[in-house]
Symmetry: C2
Subunit: 587 residues, 2 copies
């Protein structure tokens, strides 16, 4: 599509042809069928095109601002979300018992992605609200669910996640927000909170009637002392407005002015400048981080979807531009015909690379969503845990690279604000940072999910990759399959070394491991998609070109990207002290 | 330094210890000595700190704007450049016969870099003016030099380069601006120009009394027909104001609103909306592109310096932040001490990588400037020609990556406009685009400088690398030297294949070649610098740490970066059609 929104053909290929969501639904006796899904995705497309895309630029130009302690947001954002609410979209992924539409995560996220290609910051309000409501639904009491989750599921209220503090970003163990028990009421144990929370997306706005903050804080023990580290962290529900309509003791201390992603406000919130903000404990004391982590895993895949969506739109806009922009001649023909720049080899390379990143990211995130849906499959849940840091990081890092390439394809025009690609680039730059930086994800992957798990989840991963390779060998993708098998052998070798290492440098180069492993994962998915594409010969020229594009991109990934994996893994296996031996004063 | 300006220690190391500029000056009987240079660089530092850095943010926030056909620029920019003019800085690199200070290019560029770390867009006005004046000095008549070059050398007037047109960016052969002969006068052959020029940096401003545009245009032959392609291009001097004080027929049709680098205006200029803009031919008809190219090579190294400077400042700001920001604990010690984030391995990795890119870029550009200075050394001139596309591209591409890492080190703070690193990132994103995109540079390198040159310049390069390896083997850098020798052997092998190829895919993957070759060049320079650092043991703890930092960064580059070179070169040698075989309709 000209506007760069995600194409139905791409989603159909991924959801129906590749992930076989129909089979899954039938096996699970779901009442949802393809017709229902198509209608829902179609609705999402229209909403994206008519209500989210039109203010893409305006929401970058006119940032949220503070007026008498209240954050004001562009009215177009409020209008888009109002429409979103009216259509019940907040409830898409919730069960019918919670008033939801009951779509599997795969489909709810596909719809989310459509809207995120149109306007990543406007749909961000929904991401947080849904995550908040899901957490309360899972760990909250019946009364808390009724009072705080349901109004978010129906989109009347919005939600936030309040984790970081100015002095504690990645190191949550050091948060200082303090919760003091006050009384028990029908909503549970009520506390008074005092502390400052930083980087709160949607921390305040004038869109929804109320805002439900989920706040990590520490409750002092009977001696009045805060438990050190993460074990002392509990989770509290802190509404902006209390049931009696009075404002809770939550103040916007300031707004962060970001490089991109500007439509969604980002606040420094002070809890308890006065008597303390009222907050109700969720579940048990000291369980806060565990509860939040369950949530954060979902949020991390959500970040992945966001990165994939923004990368996808940049890629599509670059393709459109490259097909239309006439410049230069064929360097071999040397005739006088000026050609569209897409015919220049280096432009083609940039488009192949960005396609491999963007569509590879999208496939990765949808694959993970399918794993989320396979809730009763133990292997799937283990694999999901292994792949989550990759699903967060690959779309963030390589999606950003896709946006970089989209600018480059546009040349000077891409560097101007007359085109959308520079904004997409700025928007996507957030994704390697929030919900756990790339460095944090790499420690999670190598330290927790590989070494800490003694390679158990890795075995499940390997089994699935081998299955794909078996299929590939049978249908003309033999050399790619052989290559991937080789890479997998090396991965196994390297992981064996790392799992059995007692060395202090084992984790020192974990981000190189994440990049290498991520490339193996995405390479595998591309091969898996190429198998589907190859087995689907179509007489329709347009459809066949679409399939050929998938096959060509898989080949590109295998020739130009996958070789990075071995290079990086071999480096990590050396447990080199090239980084760790460097002293602070050398800088 | 806290402000991230380039440190004297770095420049001293590069200029005196590594490049031995003093030896060079003595051999060339120059009157310039170290004392003079030190004073000049010190002056540049003060100017950078007191007049360029203070409006760094403001020049991003308040863009140039158009008012009644006149571009208005932030007054702080004008004030900084006024001071720059008063100190005679425009003339630094010009010979005394032209009223210049007579500094070698190495030193003039070192000073430029100091100012570019402080404010890349303000100093941009100088880059263009100096380039313009140098071109006129080289190809213009005596009267043209006096009339148009000297006022730029003394900084009274500024200059521009008008190459691109809306429909012709990288493909200059297709420019349509038309020059019609009018009369001969004391300034030479006077023409009337009509056409539109796009992307003109400094195309209009209210800082200098006059603006001298150097404009590429085509003069019709006697049948009134424009010669097709680049052979028909000539170069014209088109002043904003004519000698009689009247305004020439040059109109600002619009301003481009850029993602970064906003302090310098970027204009669409219409030449000849009325009777035609008066312009004087430089040299002979049809020589325009050749003349401009001589200039462009200098400008390309200038872009490299800009990229290096912006990367350098981002790196230094990240180092400062990482030393001060306390977060998390040592993952192996597991004690309760919160540490500065620079002690986390992944942060150290990011700082090492950005140091290797930023300081490697700076070394590369200064090395090339030294080659410029070795004007009578044929080998040096050939090597300069070979290295120019690398000096333009490595600092642009990897300097940008350094700026990306600087944001990442800052975490969420780096994504806000309260810190400088996000602006540096936006500023540097221009560099892979202007003065020939990375794709264009890669065709220049592989097509013209390697294949077109039958590998002659490459031999000179190889000779110098081998010399470095010889020295390295003697002083405890044997394994790096052996590795580099291996890589060089592979480079030779790959180039042999490419030079002798008749294949249409030879140039198809040239950008991978450029990246691989660039890494070899920078790896070589790091090794060369490590030799100097290793041979300079110092009792002063601070100095020794500085030297150790250089050695550690060289090691980092060899372990973590150089392996990319073989991977990329091996891919290029395959002459794969993985990219070129992809059809437009696949996208």
């Amino acid at each position: 599509m000209k506007n760069g929104l995600i194409e139905q053909a791409d989603l159909n290929f991924l959801i129906y042809d590749w992930l076989n969501i129909e089979d899954f639904l039938i096996k699970n006796n779901s009442e949802i069928d393809r017709e229902t899904i198509d209608a829902f995705l179609d609705l999402s497309h229209k909403l994206a095109r008519d209500h989210f895309l039109p203010h893409f630029k305006k929401s970058d130009q006119i940032e949220p601002y503070l007026e008498d302690g209240q954050v004001r947001v562009l009215k177009e954002i409020a209008q888009a979300l109002k429409r979103y609410t009216e259509l019940g979209m907040f409830s898409a992924g919730f069960s019918e018992s919670l008033g939801g539409m009951g779509f599997p995560s795969t489909i709810a996220n596909a719809a989310y992605t459509i809207l995120a290609t149109a306007n990543g910051s406007t749909i961000g309000y929904s991401l947080l609200t849904v995550a908040n409501a899901r957490l309360i639904s899972k760990f909250g009491s019946e009364e808390q669910i009724k009072q705080f989750a349901l109004p978010q599921i129906n989109g009347k209220w919005f939600g936030t996640m309040c984790l970081s503090e100015p002095q504690a970003g990645s190191g949550l163990g050091d948060i200082k927000t303090k919760a003091t028990f006050e009384e028990k009421d029908e909503l549970g144990d009520c506390y008074r909170l005092k502390g400052n929370k930083m980087w709160i997306s949607g921390g305040d706005q004038d869109i929804s009637e109320n805002i439900i903050h989920l706040v990590l804080a520490k409750a002092p023990n009977k001696d009045g002392i805060l438990t050190a580290g993460t074990a002392g962290i509990s989770l509290f529900i802190v509404p902006k407005f209390l049931r009696d309509g009075r404002k809770n003791d939550v103040t916007v201390a300031g707004l962060n002015h970001k490089m991109g992603n500007r439509g969604i406000s980002n606040c420094l919130l002070n809890f308890g400048e006065g008597e303390g903000a009222k907050g109700w404990l969720v579940g048990e004391l000291g369980h806060g981080l565990r509860q939040m982590f369950m949530m954060m895993n979902e949020a991390r895949i959500g970040v992945g979807f966001g990165g994939a969506a923004v990368a996808y739109r940049g890629h599509k806009l670059a393709v459109n531009y490259a097909k239309e922009r006439l410049q230069g001649r064929d360097i071999y023909k040397r005739d006088d015909k000026v050609i569209p720049i897409i015919e220049h080899s280096d432009v083609k390379r940039m488009l192949l690379a960005s396609k491999s990143y963007a569509e590879g990211s999208l496939a990765l995130c949808l694959y993970c969503s399918k794993l989320v849906d396979e809730v009763n499959n133990v292997d799937s849940q283990k694999l999901l845990s292994l792949l989550t840091p990759v699903a967060k990081t690959f779309p963030a890092e390589f999606g950003l690279l896709a946006n970089d390439l989209a600018i480059q394809v546009h040349g000077g025009y891409g560097y101007t604000r007359d085109f959308d690609v520079e904004q997409l680039y700025r928007d996507n730059r957030l994704n390697p940072i929030h919900e756990g930086t790339t460095g944090i994800q790499s420690l999670d992957l190598l330290g927790r999910k590989i070494i800490g798990d003694s390679g158990e989840s890795l075995k499940i991963f390997t089994k699935r990759v081998l299955k794909t390779c078996d299929q590939a060998i049978q249908i003309n993708l033999k050399s790619d399959a052989s290559y991937l098998l080789e890479v997998m052998k090396n991965l196994e070798r390297v992981c064996d070394i790392l799992i059995n290492s007692k060395d202090n440098n084992t984790l020192a180069n974990s981000s190189a491991f994440l990049t290498g492993f991520g490339h193996i994962v995405v390479g595998w998915l591309w091969l898996d998609m190429a198998i589907v594409a190859l087995s689907q010969k179509d007489e329709d020229q347009y459809v066949q070109s679409f399939l050929n594009g998938k096959i060509a991109t898989s080949r590109y990934f295998f020739e130009c990207e996958l070789p990075k994996a071995d290079m990086l893994l071999n480096f990590v296996a050396k447990k080199s002290d090239v980084v760790s031996s460097v002293k602070t004063e050398f800088f």
